[in-house]
């Protein structure tokens, strides 16, 4: 029989420590929607998504009510549009983004991911059209998210795309300048992208996935922080053990929610993404976990080590709790979405360079970084190249979600609202990378031995 302490512990995690299931994401294959006429293609995808996703939001709400666990987002991911739209006779995929947006609104999900292309080794015709359509697509839609994979450990880095994405990010910022470049918050550039990630903005339904699949992203930085308060002053073995036990408990609930959603919708269970995803809310910060380990402020020497322990222990604990783990599992460090990161930037302890070092051991990369509007496309490409190189060499996922906010400079701040939070403008190294980025071509795939 359950004890009163166990029951109260679970409810305290939910009520006081912001434990929640961050997302139930329904992945849908659009491979059977292709058509040479883009109008018919758009109609096909709208019909398929609205039919497949009809009960998603309702199912999520039912599970939330019955178990008393908040399920914050219900979302949809689809096959990368560059692949399925390629047979359309069209020179822009903006209408496809509009069809995705309309479908998302009809089924009531707040984001739909998959306006994506995988170009780590090179472009096809569809990839080029999709990438060129991104700025307008993100400006004209509300719920569509876009992602590009431009590097991998097996293929190297597509430096032509690195150059192009700097320009695309700048253009997206210009077209959404009336919303503080909000379009860029819905655009991620990846290296080694996972094809089963349920978290936005990088979610898409990989080509090796089933027809439909349910994946769940759990969260709970506040719960980990609270658990670590109990082991203050103890050594790192105690820290790692505490994180593992907490991650196990959190992930078990994610597994329950995923199984229930899968059963009720008649859709196979995919994976649990056992991520610590912060929000700007008090008590929901990854930075505060690092500070709880003994750092005065996130960014202080020791921060990378603290994040490495956290990321590794979360995976170890979570892996034991779920039958299938995938996605981006680990600890996210999105600056504007984390109250502790925001405060650390404001007090000058967290810089872009330190964040880059942290991305060597976090679960994703440079995330939700607001920079001055006059940051050049080549500089943004340089940042992307650095991040892609870290991912390629270290055989890990890395990403860049950077927002050059028009009209803003260092000293200003920007408010994105909701889960996207707010951020001070982060200073960027002002020395130029233009000639480096202008070269283009491909950085060859790295050697996998002599690892020193």
């Amino acid at each position: 029989m359950l004890t009163i302490q166990e029951i109260l512990e679970t409810n305290r995690m939910i009520e006081q420590n912001n434990f929640d299931v961050r997302t139930i994401t329904l992945g849908i294959s659009l491979r059977d929607c292709c058509h040479p006429d883009i109008k018919i293609f758009c109609q096909n995808i709208y019909e398929k998504i609205t039919r497949a996703g009809e009960h998603l939001v309702r199912t999520g709400e039912d599970i939330e009510a019955e178990y008393g666990i908040p399920i914050i987002n219900k979302r949809i991911s689809v096959t990368p549009i560059a692949i399925v739209a390629e047979s359309c006779h069209a020179d822009s995929y903006v209408p496809v983004a509009q069809a995705l947006d309309a479908a998302a609104k009809t089924v009531g999900v707040n984001f739909i991911g998959g306006f994506s292309a995988l170009v780590e080794k090179g472009y096809t015709k569809g990839d080029r059209i999709l990438i060129q359509s991104i700025p307008e697509a993100l400006a004209q839609t509300e719920r569509v998210c876009s992602s590009i994979n431009l590097a991998s450990t097996k293929a190297g880095i597509n430096m032509d795309c690195v150059r192009e994405m700097g320009q695309i990010i700048k253009r997206t910022a210009e077209l959404t300048s009336d919303r503080d470049a909000l379009g860029c918050a819905k655009l991620v550039v990846f290296a080694n992208v996972p094809e089963d990630n349920p978290f936005m903005a990088g979610a898409f339904h990989g080509v090796g996935e089933a027809e439909k699949v349910i994946s769940v992203g759990v969260s709970g930085p506040g719960v980990v922080k609270r658990a670590l308060e109990e082991v203050r002053g103890q050594d790192f073995s105690a820290v790692a053990e505490t994180i593992k036990k907490t991650a196990f408990k959190i992930t078990r609930v994610g597994q329950l929610v995923a199984q229930e959603a899968s059963r009720r919708m008649g859709v196979p269970f995919g994976i649990i993404d056992l991520s610590l995803a912060p929000t700007p809310a008090v008590g929901d910060s990854v930075a505060h976990i690092l500070e709880e380990m003994g750092l005065e402020s996130c960014g202080a020497p020791g921060t990378t080590a603290a994040l490495a322990i956290l990321n590794d222990a979360v995976k170890k604990g979570g892996l034991m709790a779920s039958s299938h783990v995938g996605g981006l599992s680990g600890a996210f460090i999105p600056v504007s979405e984390d109250a502790g990161m925001i405060a650390a930037v404001e007090r000058g302890s967290l810089t872009l360079e330190k964040l880059e070092a942290m991305t060597c051991v976090c679960s994703v990369g440079l995330d939700m970084i607001a920079v001055a509007g006059d940051t050049s496309a080549a500089t943004i490409s340089g940042i992307i190249a650095d991040e892609a190189a870290i991912g390629m060499i270290n055989n890990k996922t890395t990403a860049v979600r950077i927002i050059p906010v028009p009209g803003k400079k260092v000293g200003d701040s920007v408010e994105f609202g909701g889960l996207l939070g707010y951020s001070p403008i982060i200073p960027v190294n002002t020395f130029k990378s233009d000639d480096f980025i202008a070269r283009g071509g491909r950085i060859p795939a790295p050697i996998r031995s002599l690892t020193n």
């Binding site: 009163i4 029951i7 679970t10 009510a65």
Partner: protein, 89 residues
């Protein structure tokens, strides 16, 4: 199906009686009650069997929440599996 009912709030006469009555009227069987007073606050956890219940868990949540709001108590009913899966392997 088993459910866990938790009640938290200012202590007063008749809380257990009031909740028990609602459960009895709806044919919900109480399996276990654990109750204590901490700093004047009433804490109670009940595990109940809803196999013969006349109402769904969702409806029971509404009935209990309504009664709780009336009396200034926080009353929640949750499917037992969320606790089992977290604390039992």
């Amino acid at each position: 199906m088993k459910a866990v009912i938790t009640i938290v709030g200012q202590d007063r006469v008749g809380i257990v009686a009031m909740v028990s009555e609602i459960l009895a009227v709806n044919s919900v069987n109480i399996l276990n009650i654990n109750q204590n007073i901490l700093d004047g606050f009433f804490n109670m956890v009940m595990i109940v069997d809803m196999a013969s219940s006349k109402v769904s868990l969702k409806d029971m949540q509404q009935i209990l929440k309504g009664k709780g709001d009336e009396l200034g108590l926080d009353i929640k009913a949750q499917h037992e599996d969320i606790f089992q899966i977290m604390h039992r392997i």
